[in-house]
């Protein structure tokens, strides 16, 4: 269909929903690279006006990514629940924004929004986010509850969890253990202790899984561990008897991009099944861990929509959440500043994208976390990361990723430090996941006020050090 909108006295028109979505997206480098960004600020304003008029129902009829050639679209449409959609089915995107903001300010907001989850498609959610300011998105995101669990519970009000990311450039077990000790002593690791392996050699991955499991059981830590290798490797390792808590996979919003990652929906189903059967969870059984990020489809040249037009990266990102929620993940995080300046040019773009991703994910019912991060080739710095973290706390993101001193020496980028989260928790009065919080307190790591003590080493972690570090 053709859409059109006015701005600055001119009328701009847009050939399809896919084109309209791109033109209505706040400026970012990835869309300029893809060729779907508005050519001027006025054109963008006109596109937003046009988008505000589109009925939500239209998204069920007009595909952004063609259902005939894309299994993610088919999955999304199959999962759509017309009954849940009811309350908003006659609204336009603009009215939907108004409604979301009204509902979020009501005491029963969380319940109303939770009931809506399967009535929304990722495209609807992406569309409404384009009409929102950062403040609007925080207002709605913070009214949503998304709670999941395995050995710990992620997403409860009043909590902020962390992935402890003990990456090592040579997958050295002592190096990984050292970072785990550092992070655990700073109250990190309640969402997951998760290593990106430098190698994808299954033997190495297996060894790392054993190491993490040993650390967890040795210190009796109520958390889950993960080695972020390809899903096929994980499936093989489950068969080989490795201690797999969570199955990890990077996913994206199109079938073609997932093919670029070497992954299919079938594989994910198989993996979820296999992990479930291990029955390793204690307080819950969410077994999947996904990573996504604006730009990953484009980076695989797999970002084309109906009519072959490029689709904006934020819509594609929301579609990745549409795929993810089929597998009831424990956690999903966007790696928002990770991929590079060709997708998100500077701190401003990274910040807006992080808030959008958190908003879209939470509205779709996905247990969102964010890798608050930047690379050295982007125009961003540690201040932008403090800023995004503070916003995400207000927007109630479930968890963030932490590394020692902001420096991931293996992936070559900067994420948050363990310190950043200590500060954010104290300033906002937040606690770790409750099971982990109890553990911290039990091993003497918390003071009366709930702050992590500076000079305590629980016996179990001293023992771990003795076992796993060279003298």
């Amino acid at each position: 269909m053709r859409y059109s909108g006015l701005a600055g006295g001119h009328r701009y028109s847009f050939d399809s929903l896919a084109v309209l979505m791109g033109a209505a997206t706040p400026a970012r480098s990835g869309d300029e690279l893809a060729g779907c960004a508005a050519a001027s600020a006025a054109e963008r304003a006109a596109a937003q006006r046009a988008l505000a008029e589109v009925p939500l129902g239209r998204f069920l009829d007009e595909d952004v990514i063609d259902r005939d050639t894309d299994d993610v679209t088919r999955l999304i449409l199959a999962g759509h629940d017309p009954k849940a959609f009811e309350p908003v089915s006659t609204m336009s995107v603009g009215q939907f924004r108004d409604w979301l903001l009204s509902v979020s300010a009501r005491p029963d907001g969380a319940a109303v929004l939770a009931a809506l989850k399967w009535g929304l498609t990722p495209e609807m959610v992406a569309a409404v986010s384009k009409l929102m300011t950062v403040g609007d998105m925080i207002a709605v995101s913070s009214a949503i509850d998304v709670v999941t669990s395995f050995r710990s519970t992620v997403g409860l009000p009043g909590t902020l969890a962390t992935r402890l990311q003990p990456n090592d450039p040579t997958d050295d077990p002592a190096g990984v253990a050292a970072v785990c000790i550092d992070g655990l002593l700073m109250g990190s690791g309640d969402a997951v202790v998760g290593v990106n392996p430098a190698s994808d050699n299954p033997r190495t991955v297996h060894q790392l899984l054993d190491l993490l499991d040993e650390i967890r059981t040795g210190a009796q830590i109520p958390t889950q561990t993960c080695v972020l290798t390809h899903v096929t490797t994980t499936i093989d390792l489950i068969e080989a008897g490795a201690p797999v808590d969570l199955v990890f996979q990077s996913i994206a919003g199109t079938q073609a991009a997932n093919e670029g990652f070497g992954v299919t929906i079938e594989m994910l189903r198989e993996a979820e099944q296999a992990a479930h059967e291990l029955h390793r969870g204690t307080v819950g059984d969410n077994v999947m861990y996904f990573e996504t990020g604006q730009g990953s489809a484009l980076s695989a040249d797999a970002h084309h929509g109906v009519g072959g037009v490029p689709v904006d990266q934020q819509t594609l990102e929301a579609r990745a959440y549409g795929l993810a929620r089929e597998f009831s993940p424990l956690i999903l995080n966007t790696v928002v500043g990770f991929i590079g300046p060709e997708y998100l040019y500077d701190g401003r773009q990274i910040i807006r994208a992080g808030i959008e991703d958190n908003f879209c994910g939470r509205l779709l019912g996905v247990p969102m976390g964010v890798d608050v991060c930047y690379t050295n080739h982007a125009e961003a710095d540690a201040d932008d990361m403090s800023t995004l973290l503070t916003l995400l706390v207000a927007a109630r993101t479930g968890y963030v990723i932490c590394v020692p001193g902001t420096d991931d020496i293996m992936l070559g980028y900067q994420s948050l430090s363990f310190h950043d989260v200590l500060t954010a928790r104290r300033v906002a009065g937040l606690r770790p996941a409750p099971e982990f919080d109890a553990w911290l307190s039990q091993v003497g790591l918390l003071d009366e006020s709930g702050r992590v003590r500076e000079s305590v080493t629980p016996a179990s972690l001293s023992a771990l050090a003795a076992r796993s570090l060279a003298a």
């Binding site: 080739h377 020496i409 310190h419």
Partner: protein, 319 residues
């Protein structure tokens, strides 16, 4: 269950207090080049650690913009007998005209500049004329003989091992600047040398290619133009705060424009303190042979050879 070690004494150093903790933190720090045991001031990083990070960031920002010294790299390659033996290196560049274009437009960094299509530089090779349209599918090994007509000066590609070589699959090694010219300057040539040693028995090797403002996928167009069965791209990985000279090695079977990343294999973190040249070369060679057997590279090809060797931490550069 816990041993409270009292309040930390010094202004500097780790988060632990007392004797036991001091030795704990020594061991933790010795075990990893990561920035562990930085200590805390309130809930924040100590000033010294923060200033270290700011300095590292400043230096890394500058490093991204350092241009690759192609001439030096070429000379260095020619000074190395194994590489000189492959013939005069091919010098190419991508379509990204400068660093700023390179950073914003990875698509341009994946394609050869029209002015330096290999078919023209090196006319006898492979599908020469149609170098840039290498999207049609070619069966593996089909191009082995195509390169015999090479007229390029100093090309030993086709005559070095002429007899034996002609029946071997072809493989090209590409050194690409990527996001760290420092990595390529330091490790490009020695790593290529280690690769040649591992590969020369099983492959017929094309002359080394040196590519500027290039992304991993530029190897696809180069490999197709050279008519080889496999290409290995050695590329500067994006610089981190502590490590800014890490090299990545990417293997692609049956290279052609349009290959996906899932159709490649990767060996990362090649540098002193990371993966050694020797181990990286052996791994890539195993992968290259495996891909020939399997008929493809990528996610379905797994390296089940020896696990990655852990270097002694003493070899690490200061963080």
């Amino acid at each position: 269950m816990s041993s409270v070690n009292g309040v930390s004494g010094g202004q500097m150093g780790g988060g632990g207090g007392g004797q036991a903790a001091a030795s704990l933190w020594e061991r933790v720090r010795a075990a990893t080049p990561s920035r562990v045991g930085l200590g805390r001031r309130g809930d924040s990083l100590p000033t010294s650690a923060l200033l270290d990070l700011r300095e590292a960031h400043a230096v890394a920002r500058d490093a991204i913009h350092l241009p690759l010294d192609v001439e030096r790299l070429r000379a260095e390659a020619m000074a190395c007998p194994e590489l000189a033996g492959l013939g005069e290196p091919l010098l190419v560049r991508s379509r990204a005209i400068d660093r700023s274009a390179y950073l914003r437009r990875p698509d341009l960094g994946r394609r050869l500049d029209l002015a330096c299509r290999i078919g023209e530089v090196f006319p006898g090779s492979a599908s020469s004329g149609s170098a840039s349209s290498g999207t049609e599918s070619r069966g593996s090994g089909s191009s082995a003989a195509d390169s015999s007509g090479s007229e390029s000066s100093g090309s030993e590609f086709s005559d070095g091992d002429a007899g034996a070589g002609a029946s071997l699959p072809g493989l090209a090694i590409v050194i690409a600047d990527g996001l760290s010219t420092a990595a390529v300057a330091a490790h490009g040539v020695p790593m290529a040398q280690a690769l040649v040693a591992e590969l020369s028995a099983d492959f017929r090797l094309a002359p080394l290619t040196i590519a500027g403002q290039a992304r991993v996928a530029i190897g696809d167009e180069i490999g197709a133009a050279l008519g080889v069965d496999e290409v290995i791209v050695l590329i500067g990985e994006r610089p981190g705060l502590s490590v800014s000279d890490s090299l990545g090695g990417y293997l692609t079977h049956s290279p052609q424009v349009g290959r996906r990343d899932s159709e490649r294999n990767c060996v990362s973190n090649i540098r002193p303190g990371g993966l050694s040249y020797r181990v990286a070369a052996a791994t890539l060679a195993r992968l290259a042979r495996g891909a020939m057997e399997l008929g493809r590279s990528g996610v379905t090809l797994k390296d089940t050879g020896g696990q990655i060797e852990t270097m002694s931490r003493a070899e690490l550069p200061p963080a």
